[in-house]
Amino acid sequence: MRRVLLLGSPNSGKSSLFNRLTGLSQRVANYPGITVDVASGPMVSLTDTELVDFPGTYSLEPISGEEAIAVSFLNEALADDNVCHVLCVADATRLEKCLHFILQVIRECQRHQKPVTILANMSDVIRDNQLQFDPIGLSEALGVPVISVSARESQGFEPLVECLRDGASPSMTTVRNWRESPNEILRGTAQQLAAKFSPKGDVLINSQLRLDRFFLSTALGGLAFFAIMFLFFQSIFTWSAPVMDAVESLVSSLGQAVVPLIPNKIIADFVADALFGGVGAFLVFVPQIFVLTLVIGIMEDSGYLARAALICHRPLRVFGLTGKSFIPLLSGVACAIPAIYAARSVDSPRQRMMTYLAIPLMPCSARLPVYALLIATFIPGDTVLFGLVGWQGLALFAIYFFGMLVALLVTGFVSKASKNKQSEQPFVLELPPYRLPTAKPLLRNAWNRCQQFVTQAGKIILAVTMVVWVLGYFPNSGADLGQSWLGTLGHFVEPVFAPLGLDWRYGIAILTSFLAREVFVGTLGTIFGIEGSEENMLPLVDHIQASGLPLGSGVALLVFFAVALQCVSTVVILAREGSTRLALSMLLSYLVGAYLLSLLVFQIVSVLF
């Protein structure tokens, strides 16, 4: 298959173009460096052509991990005979930051005899703001074709597709040879071209300055930051509650309708306990994952995330991190794995290492089902302020805040213990313009995240619940869970969890959760499903309340899950991106820390209540 490379500066709209040209849904955000890995897909208009989306980079002289990856992949790709064309995306409204990179790309393409076309994106912004841009003049100056496009409005794609279909670039009246030009010459040329061809004036800056004055001021900006974060956590409960209730009712009704139709008792018990009890209990929390991803997407798409990174820079430096750590950390609220990849954008290796230490402590979406289950068990669902603020949302905010606090304390401690000022890098960040988020890609991204969550975690949960069910059902056909194989195993590990006030059932659920945290919910669902009567399929919260779990144990469980690194995938990615030693030492130290902290919390809560 023919391959076309898509390169560009960060925040030039490259991933949006990729999505438009392929019909795929590569993650897009209004923040520099959101693409940290290479994605590819066949083009909609040319099914025999694969488009390859590279991470955005300002230069072919990398200073961050993501840029090093882009440059390394580019060098490999340019040597590939299947690569027939290179597309270099530039933000036409901000040409001055793209031209040096464009010239470097043209030079490398000429050296490898690959045709290159410049896609001057944001033609809609040029038009709407009545800016002047001369693509023909720029094309003559560069010696390569320049096509004006708008990824947002899908405009200007026809000449591009024609150019790629024919396999030949439009004929150029001027051919310029950049092969032997050193970077210094290219930089000077870029400056001259920027002065001549960049849209004049600073109308775009002025329009965003008013918002920046608000969001970056000490008083109002700080208030806005905390208000946005507070609403973020509230929305996870309040917005998703109706859909969660609907899913729960659907799972329960479906179970009650299907199970009686199964003639074989063992299979009927399996379907009721493992499928509807175990996997069904986990599915209830998928709407919260949707809302979580959607709200993070809105913050990214609007341009606010870069501002949040900026105002967090100084406070985060106290804890050995940088403002650039903020994005991976917030991504970690959705899932640690993309967050670890996103940490490549942190320039300093030391600050990147600190970011790795903090990411697994971020309250990821896999923790959400566990938190939501335990919070719903102990905290009433009442709301105040016309339903805007709920006690459960406040409790979730508190446990999320606790996880973040622990993360900062850990990185602060390690940073102070291994102080090495030399390895810190200066902070430089592009602030993208504010944009109104577009609903369709945000909803699609949230939907994809849910699908990914269900298919990836769902497989593990199904496998674990099947094993747990077999161990819990036999040898006495579910008559006495305490005397089952699972019960025997549970009583063996019970002494470890007894100091936390947890019986063997919770011990087993914790052990299985080391595969993935959300397995805890599925395992408990299966265990209580085997214990419960077939006719009365209660929600898992009711089962836990009926089991008499003490408040101290519930809070200890929350603390344990907030700190422990119970995710095989995260450990593997940490080993790959960091080192095996780092991953194993984090696994062990976070486990010991989680146990000791939860023990302390159990003792305190038991004395107080």
């Binding site: 970077n183 800056i205 430089v428």
Partner: protein, 90 residues
């Protein structure tokens, strides 16, 4: 009245103040000097300090239609000239 050029570091610009980039200090590494030049902070370029954000955050500068945030380490190593109108001496 005539214009007198005052040399200072980019970090010393007050919000709203504009200046022309004149050069770079030795404290800035070659890679970061290259990066800020790629952003448009080249000698001769017109730069404006847009904001001095709260929480001790890095300052915000505008070049043409682009906005960048630079911390003290970088902004003190970028030298600028401010054209200030001064009274002509008698």
């Amino acid at each position: 009245m005539k214009n007198a050029s005052v040399a200072k570091a980019l970090w010393d610009l007050r919000p709203g103040e504009a200046a022309t980039v004149t050069g770079f200090g030795d404290t800035l590494s070659v890679s970061y000097q290259g990066r800020v030049m790629e952003f448009g902070f080249q000698p001769g370029a017109r730069v404006r300090c847009l904001l001095n954000p709260g929480f001790g955050a890095p300052r915000v500068y505008g070049i043409s239609n682009s906005v960048f945030s630079l911390d003290r380490e970088i902004a003190t190593a970028v030298f600028v000239a401010v054209n200030n109108p001064v009274e002509a001496s008698a």
